[in-house]
């Protein structure tokens, strides 16, 4: 009998790899998504059709359960995909990690109980895989929910720390470890399993509590890795290579994204996870009032109009204000006047890697205008106006010069090298890192106070469409 499912799985795995490979450029990315979903379709159809082969001759039972679950999943999934605004992408990502991890954990639990009830012996290797799968799954489930809550601001953003926190965490972790070993040795001790699962769930919460809300993006990438690894562990337990491959791809993606973020913030993993660095400590210090120059939308618009080249630097404030469509109008108005407009994108601008790109692309700004930090930094000295919209930390020159600054060493966008700098923000309040920005007190800097969306639309009004030639 030819094992047709296995060939389907090989093809699916290759499709998943191609799918990610084609994300290397926007031009091929739609193809990437298409082949990824085709791979998924094949895998699901192949599993259903090849069930007898996979299960040693048994045919699929409980069709109703399976099909109903699929229908419900679809009914939930479609609206999420279409209704979710682009600014809520970080939350959605956290939510879907939670779903994926929960599924992995539940499958692990189901396998564990099923084998025990059928009195099938659980090989040690399989039991190790099951324990890892359940641990990572449950932990990632609650961890991701916490991260989502912090991002959505239903949970307090600030890091919660208390005396003895490390001791509590360590004790719980040791207990979970002992239970895990015992379960691997004596899988028939089923009563231990709920305790173990409960500890894993609790652990997810405890791990996230001491991390500040603004560090959630890095946490999400790390949880992404965990979710991938738990799918991988399921692959080990079931002897299914397709799951191993997909899990490893997911795991390495989360790892690389979190490394990129940490590098771009000049911080280490440990610092993110245990640093509890954030809003609180910094807000002292620079409270003396230094003079700044500010300007009105009319003045700002006329400066922009007179410029030959403008680099717009967007930041988290753009997402908060949902200003991307207004910025598109500004871009159009300036381009029509022959101004060369580019966007300088910092790797951690916003609250997620690639956040700014998605928002600006949503507003139909051509992606070849979105220039990465390393490339654009050489252009600031020749640039007439750098227009900073809702960005703060990623433009802070203290990162280059001030060794005592908490962001010292973080690579930044060199907006301070432009001839004129204009900054749109609502107040003199600091950004995520909670520190003051010397940029604002420079002679060449004009502060444009106001909500990003409102301010930009005022400026656009000053730049009316003139009759095209």
């Amino acid at each position: 009998m030819p094992h047709f499912v296995q060939y389907v799985y090989i093809i699916s795995a290759a499709m998943f790899i191609l799918s990610l490979k084609w994300m290397n450029s926007p031009a091929s990315s739609r193809r990437g998504v298409a082949i990824g979903s085709l791979g998924m379709l094949l895998a699901v159809a192949g599993t259903l059709a090849g069930f007898p082969e996979l299960m040693g001759g048994l045919s699929v039972h409980n069709w109703t359960w399976i099909v109903t679950a699929m229908v419900i999943g679809t009914v939930i999934g479609v609206p999420i995909a279409y209704i979710m605004p682009m600014t809520a992408v970080p939350q959605r990502t956290a939510l879907s990690h939670a779903c994926g991890a929960l599924a992995a954990a539940l499958v692990g639990a189901a396998e564990f109980y099923q084998s025990n009830q059928m009195h099938e012996p659980l090989a040690m290797f399989k039991m190790i895989a099951l324990v890892i799968e359940t641990l990572l799954g449950f932990l990632t489930f609650t961890g991701s929910l916490m991260a989502m809550g912090k991002l959505q601001e239903v949970l307090p953003q600030r890091p919660i720390t208390y005396r003895g926190q490390n001791f509590v965490n360590f004790t719980l972790f040791s207990i979970a470890g002992v239970l895990a070993v015992r379960l691997v040795m004596v899988p028939s001790d089923t009563f231990l399993f709920p305790i173990f699962s409960g500890l894993a769930l609790l652990f997810g919460v405890l791990l996230i509590i001491p991390i500040g809300g603004a560090d959630m993006p890095t946490v999400i990438a790390i949880l992404n890795s965990y979710a991938g690894l738990s799918a991988c562990a399921m692959g080990f337990a079931l002897g299914n290579n397709l799951l191993v491959v997909a899990g490893a791809l997911d795991g390495s993606s989360g790892l690389i994204l979190s490394i990129i973020m940490c590098k771009a913030m000049n911080r280490s993993f440990t610092n993110v996870l245990f640093g509890a660095f954030g809003q609180m400590q910094m807000k002292v210090g620079h409270t003396e009032q230094k003079p700044v120059r500010s300007a009105s939308p009319e003045e700002a618009a006329s400066i922009l109009e007179a410029a030959q080249s403008v680099i717009i630097v967007p930041g988290y404030g753009l997402a908060v204000a949902q200003a991307q469509h207004k910025i598109r109008e500004l871009y159009d108005a300036l381009t029509r006047r022959g101004v060369n407009v580019k966007f300088g994108i910092h790797p951690v601008a916003g609250r997620m890697p690639g956040h700014m790109n998605v928002l600006l692309a949503e507003a139909d700004i051509p992606y070849d205008r979105l220039v990465e930090m390393d490339e654009i930094n050489g252009e600031f000295p020749q640039c007439d106006v750098a227009l900073v919209i809702g960005a703060n930390d990623v433009t802070n020159p203290a990162a280059r010069t001030d060794k005592s600054s908490p962001i010292y060493g973080m690579p930044i966008l060199d907006v301070d090298k432009a001839h004129t700098v204009m900054v749109i923000k609502r107040s003199m309040n600091p950004g995520f890192a909670g520190i003051d920005n010397p940029l604002y007190y420079m002679d060449k800097t004009l502060m444009l106070f106001g909500d990003a969306k409102a301010f930009v639309s005022e400026m656009v009004k000053e730049l009316p469409v003139r009759a095209a030639a």
Binding site: L20, K21, M23, N24, P26, S29, R30, G32, G36, M40, A43, V44, T47, L48, F51, M55, V60, H61, W65, I66, T68, A69, G73, V78, A81, V89, R92, T93, S96, G100, A103, A104, L106, V107, A109, A110, Y113, Q114, Q117, M118, N224, A227, C232, M234, N240, L243, V245, A246, L249, D250, S253, L255, P353, G354, N357, V358, A361, I365, Y367, L370
Partner: protein, 104 residues
């Protein structure tokens, strides 16, 4: 002959190399859609959920756990691929005037 563990480890090692090489080359423009795409792909654990739920001898507990798992993971599959497509569709090189026809 290598055992299942050893074979799976071999596959894991290779897949990790592939993942690291490929993900490193993903355009930074697309890091946000990348996250939702890998998320959708790792929902392949639906295979495990189907196998456990569809088993003839599945206990009621197994069926319930499997049911919830399939719902959760199918939500991810559907919303993950759709939202990624929605995102990458937005990345255009030349902007098109809304509603205008495209001539070449």
């Amino acid at each position: 002959m290598p055992s299942n563990l050893e074979k799976a480890l071999f596959v894991f090692m290779l897949a990790t190399f592939v993942g690291l090489e490929i993900i490193r080359k993903v355009s930074p423009l697309l890091h946000t859609p990348l996250m939702s795409l890998t998320n959708a792909i790792s929902a392949i654990s639906v295979v495990g959920a189907i196998l456990i739920t569809g088993n003839e001898r599945a206990t009621d507990l197994t069926k319930i756990l499997g049911f919830v798992a399939i719902v959760a993971v199918f939500t991810n599959i559907v919303s993950g691929f759709l939202i990624t497509d929605r995102m990458v569709k937005m990345f255009k090189k030349k902007p098109q005037a809304a509603g205008a026809e495209v001539h070449k």
